[in-house]
């Protein structure tokens, strides 16, 4: 039996607003418990919500970036259920009329494959607080600092057919929201959370199989594993004669398995109705146009531009444009190098990435700044260092030894020029008459011996092309 996997993702993005979606309390991460939970966030009797307009602007930015329909009139609805991290006993969200409608986004699945994934909708809602289950003698501690943080819930169409595609989609959305400046996408801090809806069906079948929801996947690595392990579970279950139950599951990374989560009841009746404390959110044409005008260059646009301007391949351009940081680094380095896109790209994805990986560093922490790298690339281009020397210069820059120019000066790694090479060649020719005779009599291979000797004598500081040219002319009969 050939199985097809069907995946849809719901991504909750914390919007980078300074204050909460319905109150003026701060959204800053890491504060002492309940010091950023004001009366409105606590759901005290008598308090009322007032909507943070920035959340609407950020949501619309996302919608425009994915070519989505923008609902210029959207409604807040109450999702009613009881849980200690939900102080009002309902979550203010959007139900029938969300601010962002249908759209799509292109993802890079691997080096040679892209795919278009549909976006069903994106809506605004308030985040819940946090529950701490340890340390309280059989009780749970509730911190409501996070309650009321603005969220954008992005729902994809069930268009993904593999864990790999799911990860690619998640990465794309992650990069996009950071590009747009609407979220810091910090998964450790909970700014970017993903739930995966996974089902399987026999290949060719039209109807979807029953899906299970895997909640709170907070890393690209885990989401791939979780989906794969869940797919396996479902297939095994069906093949053994069982049925997949529609339920919520959690991924256990230690055991590498998903297990059923029974706290939030399976059949929750949320009793959605329009929130009577809030009015319809109406966004004028002018505001939408203004937001459109303020959009930064998007990853896909950047990728296309990189490919055209610098003659980069799709995969390389995709990698470099995938985050604001890498794109920024690349563009700065190219600038500092005098426009050498391809060379910079190679060095960034090669030597630099290798060094970052080795030291487990992020790009922002690199001791080799884009200016430094660009400076080095410039010297490679104008041949003032050979590629062999360049590697040594890079290492020295990594160790904070200064600019490329300074390092070359310090170590005397200037490439030899013709006036320095020629006497060396002359000396080598003089001392190796036998080989000269062999070469002149037709043994082409002996050329390599001379190259080797020259390189040794110049300690690798001679430009190979130049050496070749000089040797050839001097060895000519």
């Amino acid at each position: 039996m050939e199985w097809e996997v069907v995946i849809g993702l719901e991504i909750h993005v914390q919007l980078a607003c300074k204050s909460k979606i319905f109150s003026g309390a701060s959204t800053a991460f890491g504060a002492e418990p309940n010091t950023q939970a004001c009366a409105v966030d606590l759901g005290l009797p008598g308090v009322l919500p007032v909507f943070n307009g920035e959340a609407a602007k950020m949501s619309i930015k996302f919608g425009l970036a994915c070519g989505c329909e923008i609902a210029q009139r959207s409604i807040f609805a109450r999702k009613n259920y009881f849980y200690p991290d939900l102080p009002k006993g309902y979550q203010t969200s959007q139900y029938e009329i969300p601010i962002v409608g249908k759209g799509q986004i292109e993802i890079q699945v691997d080096e040679n494959t892209t795919k278009v994934v549909g976006i069903t909708r994106a809506h605004m809602e308030e985040d819940a607080g946090k529950s701490l289950h340890e340390d309280f003698a059989g009780m749970t501690g509730i911190d409501l600092n996070r309650a009321g943080t603005p969220l954008l819930e992005i729902v994809s169409e069930p268009d993904m057919r593999s864990a790999k595609e799911a990860v690619a989609y998640m990465r794309k959305i992650h990069s996009l929201v950071r590009y747009l400046g609407i979220s810091d996408g910090n998964m450790q801090e909970g700014s970017f959370r993903c739930d995966a809806n996974v089902s399987v069906r026999p290949m060719g079948q039209k109807e979807f199989g029953t899906r299970a929801e895997i909640k709170n996947l907070n890393s690209f690595k885990f989401i791939e594993k979780a989906i794969n392990v869940e797919v396996e579970r479902q297939i095994d279950l069906i093949e053994a004669g069982g049925e997949v139950v529609q339920e919520t599951r959690l991924y256990d990374s230690d055991k590498d398995e998903t297990r059923s989560m029974r706290t939030k009841e399976e059949a929750n009746d949320y009793r959605y109705f329009p929130c009577p404390d809030l009015l319809p959110v109406v966004i004028s044409d002018e505001v939408v146009t203004e937001i459109q005008g303020s959009m930064p260059e998007l990853p896909d646009e950047k990728k296309a531009r990189f490919m055209e301007q610098f003659d980069l391949g799709s995969y390389d351009a995709s990698l470099l444009s995938s985050s604001v940081e890498s794109a920024g680094y690349f563009e700065k380095a190219v600038d500092a190098s005098g426009g050498e896109g391809k060379l910079c790209a190679n060095w960034i994805m090669g030597e630099l990435q290798a060094s970052l990986n080795r030291e487990d560093m992020e790009l922002e922490q690199s001791p080799v700044t884009p200016d430094l790298l660009g400076g080095l690339v410039k010297k490679i281009k104008d041949k003032s260092v050979t590629s062999k020397i360049a590697k040594k210069v890079f290492e020295a820059m990594w160790n904070d030894e200064g600019t490329a120019d300074e390092i070359v000066e310090k170590y005397g790694w200037k490439p030899a020029d013709a006036s320095e090479i020629e006497p060396i060649i002359d000396e080598i020719i003089a001392n190796n008459q036998a080989q000269v005779e062999q070469y002149r009599s037709g043994k082409e291979k002996v050329f390599g011996f001379f190259v080797g000797q020259v390189m040794k004598a110049t300690k690798g500081q001679a430009d190979p092309a130049q050496v070749n040219q000089l040797l050839k002319s001097k060895l000519a009969p």
Binding site: P45, G46, L48, P49, V50, F82, P84, P87, R271, Y272
Partner: protein, 483 residues
């Protein structure tokens, strides 16, 4: 002193005929004296009142006064008062000391008014008789065997017995007007959005509105000028200037057209109440008013629509009362579910529980369209009825309630019968338009209220019509015996 109007008290304070401390002490004495009989107050805030009175006197001495500076008021115990118990008439909030002031309270504080105490009320504003209070029934000063009306029964009784100079109430289905009618006082429910709901514990968010209750339209105008106004903390607050209500009070009513809804004068209306209203109509004719018959054909659907919309909204608004962060928590909860269920089961009274259950049902899967959506559509029909009527008339007039104050315990067995006492008031809340009740006579020794209904933001017209009537009648000056 206690018989004086707000304007008279204000003048007396400013002329230094009496100090605010003295005035406050006088009202405090009355409050304490009559509270045992009436049970109108849940909390009398003596210390706070005297402290505020001292401050008021200082302001008066410095010549820095406003109309209500130094005047003692009672506030329905639904308004959050910082540092003071705010119970909403419920066991659920018996231990709740509000940690902030409602906007309305802030406004009164800024005006220099005195908070004499928190008035009794039907639990969570749900009721038409003040028999649903955790703190016991309030007795109508006109007949202690009768209810004062609800849910602002305590506020109405306070004003009727002059246990404060005026009071605040809230009105979701008639809870200012009906008790005003039963207790022979004046009360106004402003246009929805006119008065801030921030800090006013929510019952039905799209219907609730706070308003003043006092001896006369003149007093209401002074109170409303302080209470009304845009509040950035309330998204449903109207960004409209507050007119000087006192300014247009004396305008002639010559040529004013008042509509009489034929649906308000039919079956169910007590004959004696009808007679009082008819007499009032004659008075208005003398003042130059032209009457016309209007029809509000969907009136009979207003109570059913209300009893879907209000419970639905309240079922959600009251979910925050879960014993977790404030209010009543049951003893020794064995787990979370137990804490929720027992805290809420113990904290809420029967009527509140009933309405939460109805509301939960109306919103639940499969029933939303048939109940909630249907009710909201009906609501629009009811609102359109008023729109049509106001195309032809300036105001609408009728009885406030179908009867006078009924006996304590006489309707508690039948919720529907209780609900129907709001038949003339409820449609107004569904539409969101302003309306008021003023005393217009007596029937069987108990007060009868006259209801005036206006178009959106026409409070000035309402107060004008009420005031002109009060200039040629003296029902509003009557006081119950023994007080």
């Amino acid at each position: 002193m206690h018989k004086k109007t707000l304007a008279q008290l204000s003048a007396a304070l400013q002329a230094k005929e009496i100090s605010s401390v003295e005035l406050t002490q006088e009202f405090l004495a009355r409050a304490k004296q009559f509270n045992e009989q009436t049970n109108a107050y849940i909390t009398i805030t003596e210390d706070l009142a005297l402290q505020q009175a001292k401050e008021a006197d200082a302001r008066i001495a410095a010549g820095n006064t406003q109309a209500l500076t130094g005047i003692p008021l009672a506030h329905k115990d639904i308004f959050c008062t910082d540092g003071i118990k705010t119970s909403c008439g419920s066991k659920m909030l018996d231990s709740f000391i509000a940690p902030y002031n409602a906007t309305v309270i802030e406004k009164f504080n800024a005006a220099g008014a005195i908070c004499l105490g928190k008035a009794n009320m039907d639990e969570f504003a749900m009721g038409s008789s003040n028999e649903n209070s955790f703190y016991g029934v309030v007795k109508n000063p006109w007949d202690l065997n009768c209810v004062p009306g609800g849910s602002s029964g305590g506020s109405a009784a306070v004003v009727a017995a002059r246990m404060a100079a005026a009071a605040t109430g809230t009105d979701t289905g008639g809870s200012i007007r009906q008790p005003a009618s039963f207790c022979g006082i004046s009360g106004i429910k402003p246009t929805y959005g006119r008065v801030s709901r921030y800090g006013m514990i929510a019952y039905a968010s799209s219907l609730d509105q706070g308003g003043p209750m006092a001896q006369s339209a003149e007093d209401l105008a002074m109170m409303l000028e302080v209470m009304a106004g845009f509040d950035p903390k309330d998204s449903t607050s109207a960004q409209k200037d507050v007119p000087q209500y006192s300014a247009a009070m004396n305008d002639s009513l010559e040529g004013v057209k008042i509509g009489l809804p034929k649906e308000y004068f039919g079956e169910g209306l007590d004959a004696e109440v009808a007679t009082v209203v008819e007499t009032a109509i004659e008075e208005y004719k003398k003042l130059g008013v032209e009457f016309a018959e209007v029809s509000l054909p969907n009136t009979h659907l207003s109570v059913p629509a209300y009893y879907v919309v209000a419970p639905a909204e309240c079922s959600s608004n009251l979910s925050r009362f879960d014993g977790a962060r404030f209010g009543h928590r049951c003893e020794d909860p064995k787990d979370l579910e137990d804490m929720y269920k027992r805290s809420r089961g113990e904290g809420f009274g029967e009527e509140v529980t009933r309405r939460i259950l109805v509301g939960t049902y109306a919103l639940s899967a499969g029933y939303y369209d048939a109940y909630y959506l249907k009710a909201q559509k009906t609501r629009r029909l009811i609102s359109d009825d008023f729109k049509k009527a106001f195309a032809d008339v300036d105001l609408i007039l009728g009885p406030t309630a179908p009867t006078t104050a009924f006996g304590i315990g006489s309707k508690t067995d039948d919720p529907i019968s209780m609900y129907l006492s709001d038949i003339y008031t409820i449609a107004v809340n569904l539409a969101g338009i302003p309306a008021m009740s003023i005393p217009a006579g007596m029937a069987g020794g108990k007060p009868v209220g006259l209801q005036l209904i206006g178009n959106y933001f026409d409070e000035a017209k309402l107060l004008n019509a009420a005031h002109k009537y009060q200039q040629v009648t003296d029902w509003h000056q009557q006081m119950p015996e023994g007080f």
